[in-house]
Amino acid sequence: MDLFLRALPLFAMALPITLFLGTSSFIFGSVLGMLVALMRLSGVTLLRWGAFAYVSIFRGTPLLVQILLVYFGLPRLGIVLNPLASAILALTLFSASYLSENFRSGILAVEKGQWEAAATLGMSRIKTFTRIIMPQALRIATPTVGSRLIALMKDTSLASTVTVVELTRVAEQVGAASFRYLDMFLMAGVIYWTINQLLTVLQMIIEDRLSRHM
């Protein structure tokens, strides 16, 4: 119990870091992922290939390797990022590769007739995309995008390897100091699980709202 009380303030400090890592890389990853999805769907061969290569690289290599490469590799190129920024960059690049595929499948799942109806009204491609296709594609993609956010929250634990003091790092440090690894990692596990249960509920609410009229 005393260990629990001792660890609590440390976890309380680490929790916002974990949430920040997860949400910021999810937001940046979504923007980048949408861009990659559009490139993949574009008529320009070079853009399509670029997107294909991007997904192939960042989905095809372990996140841990990517984090270590960003943290230890970029300084070689003269780019020095602090641990937190390195972790966010790596998590963003990694999640964008998966999210781009989620968005792409959502866009492709919108009926062809929707594009046609917009075209016959004389809508431009950009207007068609933003006003007609996107709202429907996002609704279709919500379950898989939600899963990706949950996976990303757990993936933030790898930031501990580059000394970011998030939940897993705290568990490790307090565990090392007290030799009670089991208790500490169990606590960390419960916290991750709780975050993700809340995210699951949030996803259900959003899904419900978006499919109200379907």
Binding site: E116, A119, T120, L121, G122, K127, R131, I132, H213, M214
Partner: protein
């Protein structure tokens, strides 16, 4: 076929191939302002492809399409007229299409569906567009469905919203692609009734349909297509009464 000043739509020597399959084999076809042209024919005869070529939902392989004097010429499956993209937008803005499967925007209410083109293409202010949208939906007998989403509408109601959406754009020509084929028999009447009203108002219409009674009552010209060619074009009295063409007779006997 030579185009005259009265021709609103003029198609000449139009072909369309899907791979090895030649769906349209040199179509010449024209529609004058205010005319109602009904295209009939067996499945796979190319009726829908012809209609969809008029607003470039299908890209013709060769030939030309002209609407209100704006002409797009095709060769080798591509438009060879300069500024093709602008040309397509121009012609699309002069035409409107009603689809067999409605294609309403599911995330918008009936009214939002109707005014979407006005707001995002014609840049009409939202309140003004809403007034026009309500007027059209009332005309369609849907004043109580203004704020209803498509998922809560019957097929006939959906199609009437789609027709209102097309009318809102004030097109020169209305294109109907089998507008009642996806509807249960008891819902067809309400859609055909509004189409009759539109025809009577003098709107130019090109209608692909299997509704022979509608063709008989409303059409100025009936175009019969078979196997990628136009076999016969005649006023309905002639077409239904005294066509001498064997294929036409076989078709009419088959569906009667």
């Amino acid at each position: 076929m030579t185009s005259t000043d009265q021709d609103l739509v003029c198609v000449s020597n139009l072909t369309k191939r899907f791979g090895d399959l030649e769906v349209l084999k040199g179509i010449d076809f024209s529609v004058r302002a205010g005319e109602v042209v009904v295209i009939v024919g067996p499945s796979g005869s190319g009726k829908t492809t012809l209609l969809r070529s008029l607003n470039f939902l299908e890209m013709p392989t060769s030939g030309s399409v002209s609407v209100c004097g704006v002409e797009a010429v095709f060769e080798g499956g591509k438009c060879i007229s300069p500024h093709a993209a602008r040309l397509f937008r121009d012609i699309r803005s002069k035409t409107a299409m009603v689809f067999q499967s409605f294609n309403l925007f599911p995330h918008m209410t009936a009214l939002q569906n109707v005014i979407e083109g006005l707001v995002s293409v014609k840049n009409v202010k939202r309140p003004e567009a809403a007034d026009e949208g309500k007027r059209l939906l009332t005309l369609m007998g849907l004043m109580d469905k203004i704020d209803v989403y498509p998922s809560r509408l019957s097929g006939g109601q959906k199609q009437r919203v789609a027709i209102a959406r097309s009318l809102a754009m004030k097109p020169e020509v209305m294109l109907f692609d089998e507008p009642t084929s996806a509807l249960d028999p008891e819902l067809r009447g309400e859609v055909l009734a509004v189409m009759r009203d539109i025809a009577k108002s003098g709107t130019t219409m090109i209608v692909v349909t299997h509704e022979m009674q509608f063709a008989r009552d409303i059409a100025d010209q009936v175009v019969f297509m078979d196997n990628g060619v136009i076999v016969e074009t005649n006023p309905p009295e002639r077409f239904f009464g005294a066509s001498e063409n064997m294929r036409v007779r076989a078709f009419l006997n088959g569906i009667a």
